[in-house]
């Protein structure tokens, strides 16, 4: 069962061959048995999962089942789950059990899905290797057979590793600068970062509010579409969530791709990309040509500034977003604070890890008197230039295709000495968040036995088209079916 997709599991449940309680128990058993190798979960919610499964079986018996009823999945530990510890990968929230649900959490409950637990992640979603988690690094299932401990990417590294290792068929993720797409690519699974405002951010612990977006991580585009049907939609509790009709993302998966106009941004096929990686990506694009698509080169002249703009805007927003973690109302508080200042400064020094502290300090600095114009305002202007590049590109083409990451999964510890080395991991993904457009990562080959992702970038609210393009690719390739040994 563990090898089946969401769509397949749904059919198994529908056929009555297995109950949700049985299925959930199988997944829980396997998860507990196997996850020691990956450390992809922070919390396994055994009891709640079985209770949800039982409820799902009752709903099915009553004839009210949805596609998702009784299907197991997992949440990235950034989505608040009522009564289940939500840590955001941080010591700061090690004891935090929210008395409320994120909207995304509520949505999955509403369709009867069974949440097995909360997946590991970079602390407060800040990282590209899942090494900044308070709960320890996650190990990529790929490469383990050779005795290598490679990173799964980040920040949604736990979700990516868990899906790749067949511990869950699907998991939620969030993407602020590449945090769904890059781990999806490094773990050989399918991930989608939706248009900013498509998925509610309510109850999703904020890193950088104008960039964060929740999205699906699964093995197939079809499963990602099924997740989007649950996740997408207007939420009156999120002012930045867009009130716009949500299509059935599965309805257009089988549209033919004939005539699809693909643009290849020349800046994304640069010297940062290894020839072996480039070859895999170009092979994938050739598959699209076989499916009837046309390809042309396009330019995103300001893309090179994306990392610089991002590392002002994201830390600036984060510096304020993380001020609420002050030890006063919830979460970690230092032992015996001698005064108020001591409570604040020690709580935050002890509760946050190094990468989080670095970003808070950089963000505070960029916003401080005398630097605001040169950093924050300048970055916002560059952000507009980057957005304009994409708007211009989509005048000529339907989608853009590029690599997701410059290299495949690297070995743990390789990039932890200098934060900037790690930041460059997101060179091909970050501009998409600045523009707010949707993009996918689709398994597209291997280099040295490690998965390579193809990035498909679309115009605003074109998720259905991206999923369609990914699904059609998955009908003629089997990269997404490969299983780590």
């Amino acid at each position: 069962m563990h090898n089946k997709s969401v769509a397949e599991l749904s059919r198994e449940l529908e056929s009555g061959k297995i109950s949700s309680v049985e299925l959930t128990q199988q997944f829980l058993d396997r998860l507990k048995r196997e996850d020691g190798k990956y450390n992809s979960f922070i919390t396994i919610s055994n009891e709640q999962a079985l209770a949800e499964a039982k409820a799902a079986d009752a709903i099915r018996a009553a004839g009210k089942a949805t596609v998702w009823t009784g299907v197991p999945f997992a949440h990235k530990d950034i989505f608040c789950t009522n009564g289940i510890r939500t840590t955001c990968g941080s010591r700061m929230l090690d004891n935090f059990v929210p008395p409320y649900d994120a909207t995304v959490t509520e949505n999955f409950k509403a369709v009867g899905a069974v949440c097995l637990g909360k997946t590991n992640m970079d602390e407060f979603a800040m990282g590209s290797s899942n090494e900044s988690s308070f709960y320890g690094a996650v190990t990529n299932p790929w490469g383990l057979s050779k005795g290598e401990k490679r990173v799964p990417g980040g920040s949604s590294g736990g979700s990516a590793a868990a899906v790749a290792a067949r511990l869950v068929p699907a998991a939620t993720g969030t993407d602020t600068g590449g945090s769904i797409r890059q781990p999806a690519a490094l773990c050989g699974i399918t991930g989608l970062k939706p248009t900013y405002g498509r998925v509610s951010r309510y109850g999703m612990i904020a890193f950088a509010s104008s960039l964060d977006q929740g999205g699906p991580m699964a093995r197939t585009a079809e499963d990602a579409a099924l997740m989007m049907n649950v996740m997408a939609g207007f939420d009156p509790k999120d002012s930045t969530c867009i009130d716009r009709e949500v299509p059935d993302y599965t309805a257009t998966l089988n549209e033919p791709l004939k005539g699809l106009k693909i643009g290849l941004p020349k800046e994304y096929f640069s010297e940062q990309l290894s020839p072996a990686m480039e070859e895999q990506v170009r092979n994938a694009v050739r598959e699209y040509e076989k499916l009837g698509a046309t390809v042309k080169e396009v330019s995103l002249p300001n893309a090179k500034l994306a990392i610089a703009a991002y590392y002002v805007i994201a830390p600036a927003e984060a510096s304020a977003n993380l001020s609420r973690f002050d030890g006063a109302r919830y979460g970690y508080r230092c032992e015996n604070p001698k005064d108020l200042m001591d409570m604040y400064t020690r709580t935050r020094a002890e509760g946050f890890g190094n990468e989080v502290k670095r970003r808070i300090l950089v963000g505070s600095y960029a916003l401080s008197a005398g630097y605001f114009d040169a950093y924050y305002l300048k970055a916002q202007k560059v952000r507009r230039l980057i957005q304009q590049d994409f708007i211009n590109a989509f005048k000529d083409v339907d989608v853009l295709m590029s690599p997701v990451s410059p290299s495949p999964a690297f070995v743990q510890g390789e990039k932890t000495t200098d934060p900037v080395t790690m930041y460059l991991e997101d060179v091909f993904t970050i501009a998409i968040n600045l523009a707010g457009i949707p993009a996918m990562s689709v398994p597209a080959g291997f280099v040295d036995g490690l998965p390579v992702g193809l990035q498909i970038i679309g115009d605003y609210f074109s998720e259905a088209r991206l999923l369609n393009a990914a699904h059609q690719f998955q009908q003629v390739t089997d990269w997404h079916q490969r299983e780590p040994q």
Partner: protein, 95 residues
């Protein structure tokens, strides 16, 4: 651009994060590297470019003035570090 120890200490106070001397030294290097990366921005020609705060060109929705919340103090204070008489307790606030 480099960042001075003094700036780091100042910003750490603003951000309420305790840093010791050793950490300041490490931060001097790391933040310096990050700011070098960020300094690429200065090369961009942004004359007459409107700053972009949000990806979507949307405007704010307003909520009707209707009470939708009920008292959930017990649930919220069950996860608080210190409370008494319904109040959150913190080290003495001196005005």
């Amino acid at each position: 651009m480099s960042i001075s120890r003094e700036d780091i200490e100042k910003v750490a106070v603003l951000a309420r994060i305790k840093v010791d001397d050793e950490q300041v030294s490490a931060l001097e290097k790391d933040l310096g590297n990050i700011l070098d990366l960020v300094d690429q921005l200065s090369a961009a020609d942004t004359d007459n470019v409107e700053p972009m705060a949000h990806p979507l060109n949307a405007t704010q929705r307003l909520r009707p003035d209707v009470v939708t919340e009920t008292n959930q103090r017990e649930a919220f204070q069950a996860i608080a570090p210190a409370t008494e008489d319904g109040l959150y307790l913190v080290p003495k606030v001196i005005e």
